[in-house]
Symmetry: C2
Subunit: 187 residues, 2 copies
């Protein structure tokens, strides 16, 4: 996988939460091209965590000429501008990155290592953690990322069921919601 430089970009820390990504870009004098419009729309609307390739596939449905490279460049721009956050989601689906708009409240990502379901956890421990790091270490926090891997409720009971009826085939009905699929290489 490729290397990317995690440039210490100037994330405007106390930013006004109400603005759309599009608005923010315009303010920064960044051109709002057709391609970018498509990509921003997708990122903005899709509640899911998209990776570059998925985003590319979706974008191509609207503009078949749109190039993969443009997706990467746009994502990089948004990341450096502090408009999207980059996630790894425990690398369950491979080594690609996932993106979400940065407008939301701070949260952890809770990933089921069995079914790939991704849930978000909001709560005071996260604020507390941030505050403590800032106070105890004098650190100025710009980005915080928490990812938790394990087994979701469904998969836990699922597993018990499977252990019980050893002979039966897989009858698992996956949870609703967002899932990333554990990736396996060729071979």
């Amino acid at each position: 996988m490729a290397a990317k430089r995690a440039a210490a970009a100037a994330h405007g820390s106390g930013e006004t939460q109400g603005e759309s990504i599009q608005g923010s870009l315009k303010e920064r004098g960044i051109r709002l091209t057709r391609q970018r419009q498509i990509l921003l729309d997708l990122i903005d609307k899709s509640g899911k965590h998209l990776d570059a390739e998925t985003l590319f596939q979706l974008a191509r449905e609207q503009d078949p000429k749109l190039n993969r490279v443009t997706v990467y460049r746009t994502l990089k721009m948004l990341k450096q501008g502090g408009l999207v956050d980059e996630l790894d989601l425990m690398h369950l689906g491979g080594d690609q990155h996932y993106y979400e708009t940065r407008m939301k409240q701070e949260h952890a990502h809770v990933i089921c290592l069995r079914c790939g379901k991704v849930e978000e956890f909001f709560g005071e421990p996260l604020m507390r953690l941030r505050r403590q790091v800032e106070q105890n270490m004098g650190f100025h926090v710009l980005i915080a990322r928490t990812e938790i891997g394990g087994y979701c409720v469904n998969c836990q009971s699922q597993r018990l069921r499977e252990l019980a009826e050893v002979a039966a085939g897989p009858s698992s009905e996956p949870n609703s919601g967002e899932h990333i699929q554990p990736r396996q290489r060729k071979g």
Copy 2:
């Protein structure tokens, strides 16, 4: 060839964690080859977060024939065996992964995006978070990873100083401790 040395004895790091990695492996019936011995020693001793390439370079000093692939395979094995944790450290140094032994207490990694210093934060918010995720969501947590990016105390004052004396050259004395260097590509 150099015989195997039961290195479990003396590791100068004052931690008597109970089990050594080597011990755990033996229990699992995994062969303790010369190469693995070297790699395990390095991972165990080095307090730092090593990536595969660095580990490879260090290992090669002891055994010039040792191959990069062996490093990856060993790391994969250790990861799957739950003996080491895989970190991203905010991708500051690129997209490679970093590794640390899993024996320690749960902690967050706090990375300065300017000087690359990596510090560890231990504290109750982390336990609290884990507990809440388990209780509120019925989730069974296996791995938790928190990475925080921002500016360390030194770099904050450093920045002020730089803004003040615009003309002067870089006089920054980096912090002591572990640093990863923000990487830039060719070109």
